[in-house]
Symmetry: C2
Subunit: 209 residues, 2 copies
DNA sequence: GCTGTGAGGTGACTTGAATCACCAGCCTAA
DNA sequence: TTAGGCTGGTGATTCAAGTCACCTCACAGC
């Protein structure tokens, strides 16, 4: 059963009617609950996702430790699945829904012809590559030059902005996982941020200023 | 004066005759001596380079410190100039020739139409984006999880492989600049590698095993 | 000769972060 | 009611790196 154009409404500004019809005919829409791993490391890809609603986070991992690389927001896609899908190579990263999310899944075997015939989809992926390249550069800068307090504060600020919440319900352990460090370090550093008046730990979460 | 097809020989495996003719008509070939800065941070781009001969290294910088991100080898291109050129945005990185190099320079205003009409050039840039994305992931892993001795050894191994030389003529200070640290650290760490039998410091350079 | 400069070496110290060990406050399930 | 499991807090220690200060050695230029 093809999708309806109203389901693809979030993409209507970016894609022309003809491409939207193609997508409606061959794409699938799926909902994923918060915390679902939608892409595993090492996985081979048959479907390329575009986020319609919600928020997806992307991680690199390396011998036990993990690091949050960036978020995929609505109407964005995942360049790792794109390249892994087209080259039939395994994914080097993994991705988890940060909120309940709705994803449009596009079959990889259609992608090559769509890229040729619809410049808009080509542009989308070039944009996404630029964006992710840039975000990886930011990550590198931050790892190389910022201390944990800076990194933690930026992390909290960004998360608060993305989720539109001033109070974040996060365990110290979760934060540590996303920043590639351990719980004790977060406990100490967050206390320092609190003393500097940048955040406040409340019974129901962390308030960011 | 258009280029001759023999000058574009390194690209003949990758591009069809028609595209090669287009490139010959609109491209320019230039030679750069070793150590020339061919792309500055903050620069706006009018020409997109493809390396024909030699080796180019790409750096990120951030408040004084610098870090080597990756090398551009013959028949590869630079995704930063590609995206900065097409979006008319400034470069976030800078690039220096590591050896005497020959570059093919393509005018950015031709690129949009070439991308639409010649899938091969589209494929080249997708490949380059994948490659650089992957290399940035490696850099992140290495920064986050490897100690300096590991990072230094990998750096020396790669440089030796790329330049095809077992003995590298490098000053400690240069190495420090490329790894984002300072001279004393390199002096000490390289001594440890020497004790472990992984490298040897000779009067005329560093031998890597 | 002397002098300046760049390269490499090294000790002493500081610092940011990781690691280890242990404690207290909860909440939940048996 | 009690045991066990999260969660957060904290001191002590270790460790990798960065910083500072100063040295030697080779070499170039007068």
């Amino acid at each position: 059963m093809p999708l309806t154009l109203s389901e693809l409404q979030p993409l209507s500004g970016r894609f022309s009617g003809e491409l939207l019809n193609e997508i409606a005919a061959h794409g699938v829409i799926m909902d994923f609950a918060e915390g679902t791993e939608i892409l595993r490391e090492g996985q081979y890809i048959k479907l390329i996702p575009i986020v319609l609603k919600g928020l997806v986070k992307v991680f690199a991992s390396f011998e036990e430790k993990e690091l949050l690389l960036y978020y995929i927001e609505p109407s964005q896609s995942c360049v790792m699945t794109f390249s892994a899908g087209l080259n039939n190579s395994p994914s080097r990263i993994f991705a988890i829904t940060e909120e309940d999310s709705t994803l449009l899944l596009l079959p990889v075997e259609k992608m090559n012809s769509w890229i040729k015939h619809y410049p808009q989809i080509n542009e989308l992926f070039y944009q996404q590559y630029n964006l992710r390249y840039s975000e990886l550069l930011d990550t590198i800068n931050s790892l190389l030059f910022n201390r944990m307090d800076q990194r933690l504060y930026s992390y909290l600020l960004e998360k608060s902005k993305l989720k539109g919440e001033k109070i974040l319900q996060l365990k110290h352990k979760q934060i540590a996982g996303e920043l590639g460090t351990v719980r004790e370090v977060i406990t100490r550093v967050i206390k320092r941020l609190e003393q500097e008046g940048k955040v406040k730990q409340l019974p129901d979460g962390i308030e960011v200023f």
